[in-house]
Symmetry: C2
Subunit: 308 residues, 2 copies
């Protein structure tokens, strides 16, 4: 088993969907990544920052999942990062109603001493300079550094983003972002261009259409499970990344063959995340249900053709 | 092996894409279906109509593929159905520039005597009354009747469409059409509603995002092969349907398990179709290349997870 360091936001979210709305609830990229990776009982730590308004029970929840929280700085007189959004009827697009950076504005991540030699580093969506500073703190080169990012940094900090992209092994990015980053419509061509920027592995997330894993000339595809209803997509991409990173940490095997399984686990866990608001579904997810759903993924995708 | 009857248009297409444009070339749903199904050397017949302007060489091409063309009526003083369209830059949407029904306006399909007992009937996109009249001519109930249709008939002949839908075993339809037909956004819910209209099997085609096969509570997913470039999407859906029907005719096995293989073959053949204009890629497609691409589909989708 490998140690896993996760950097990203720990936050409050307020969400509106066609099915209802929430007050401020637990959210943030690192939260979703951590809860998802915790399915594998890995030795993980979250590096983040919250304000004095952040409930102890949320921190306890993470601790109970065997996540080291000593790297979550608490700024007593500060306020926790807050995001609010409203999803449209098709659930594929959303409006951001509020983004209050608060304590995130001056975030200086500090990796706990015990995790500076972690083999796997998962850089959740944050300013690329913050992501880079986490890599700077590692005392040995991680076996695998994984980067998640978003179009916001392409618009506002492209050079910094390129600097961190060239330092990681895997990037996870959605289809529109891959197109924006490369100026290429074809995802095959976009993935090749991103390879050339540094990452040997490129994961392109297509939401309800699944995810593609590119490596050299190889490609693997994990569908999203067809669902009757998507209740709340918030955190699905981070849950995917957490499942991906958690499975690789658990197995300690970062080969392309094993990454196929990692994206299947990522898709599987993401399919739970969207069933309820925020982290609700992920907080208590029995392993038995995960195994049942993995079987659904097998039934969904596995075939046995004899060539005729 | 089962006999396969295909009804649909045999036509002229003129196509514009960002890569170029064609004059009138060979097109039509039955043409694409027939060429695709011919990969399996099945005993098939096309039922259609053309005008006196239709080149003999096109008919010869179909004959050479072992397709019976005695059911293609030639109206000597009529003109062949003509469709012209222009694809947008994303290749996912297109404008119809011209639709000249010509001989199709009064098409009365006549199934050749030798094919009235065919076990598999593939009803390509046409007026639902024409599709029904082919089923009426079958002397015994086919083992499998497959229907393709489009939104045009939902707008203009919904009752007739419902009447033929209830008579078939399989429907192939794209995602937007499934939503229009049922008023449901979720494809899982839409498929269930279409089941209730009659078909035991529902194939929802999602273009570059692959295809879903629904049966009772089971679902199987065939991705589209990620391509560097889609040159011309014309006929991809029909090529998919032809591969699906052809494989089922070849194997004579219409179980859900075997239909999984049929949709994989459909996706595989469709991935060739889009590489060149019109039927160009499908006219001479070596079996070896098909086998290589099937292997790519396996590499793309097959995984082996040990539950941990």
């Amino acid at each position: 088993m490998s140690k896993l360091v996760i950097v990203g936001t720990v936050a409050f979210d307020a969400i509106e969907t066609p099915f209802g709305k929430t007050d401020k609830i637990l959210g943030g990229a690192a939260t979703f990544i951590g809860l998802s990776a915790s399915q594998f009982n890995v030795d993980s730590a979250i590096v983040s920052v919250v304000g004095g308004d952040f409930p102890q029970e949320y921190l306890d929840l993470l601790s109970e999942k065997n996540i080291d929280i000593s790297g979550i700085e608490i700024i007593k007189d500060g306020k926790t990062f807050f995001w609010s959004g409203r999803y449209h009827n098709d659930m594929n697009s959303r409006d951001t109603l509020a983004t209050e950076l608060n304590v995130l504005a001056d975030f200086n991540p500090v990796v706990p001493q015990d995790y500076k030699d972690a083999e796997i580093v998962m850089l959740g969506n944050l300013h690329p300079i913050v992501q880079s500073s986490v890599l700077d703190q590692m005392t040995k080169k991680p076996k695998l550094a994984i980067l998640d990012t978003m179009n916001f940094w392409m618009d506002s900090a492209l050079e910094d983003l390129h600097n961190v992209i060239k330092r990681v092994d895997v990037i996870t990015i959605n289809d529109e972002e891959a197109r924006q980053l490369t100026g290429e419509y074809s995802l095959v061509v976009a993935a090749r261009k991103i390879h050339e920027m540094g990452p040997k592995y490129v994961v392109i997330k297509k939401g309800e259409h699944g995810a593609l894993l590119f490596h050299d000339d190889s490609v693997f595809y994990a569908p999203a499970l067809p669902l009757e209803e998507v209740f709340d997509p918030t955190g699905a991409g981070d849950t995917f990344a957490g499942g991906f990173a958690g499975y690789l940490a658990k197995t300690g095997d970062v080969s392309f063959e094993n990454m196929k399984n990692a994206v299947i686990y990522g898709s599987t866990l993401a399919s739970f995340c969207v069933e309820k608001f925020g982290t609700e579904r992920m907080k208590n997810l029995p392993k038995k249900e995960v195994h049942q759903r993995l079987q659904q993924f097998k039934d969904l995708t596995q075939f046995d053709i004899e060539l005729t």
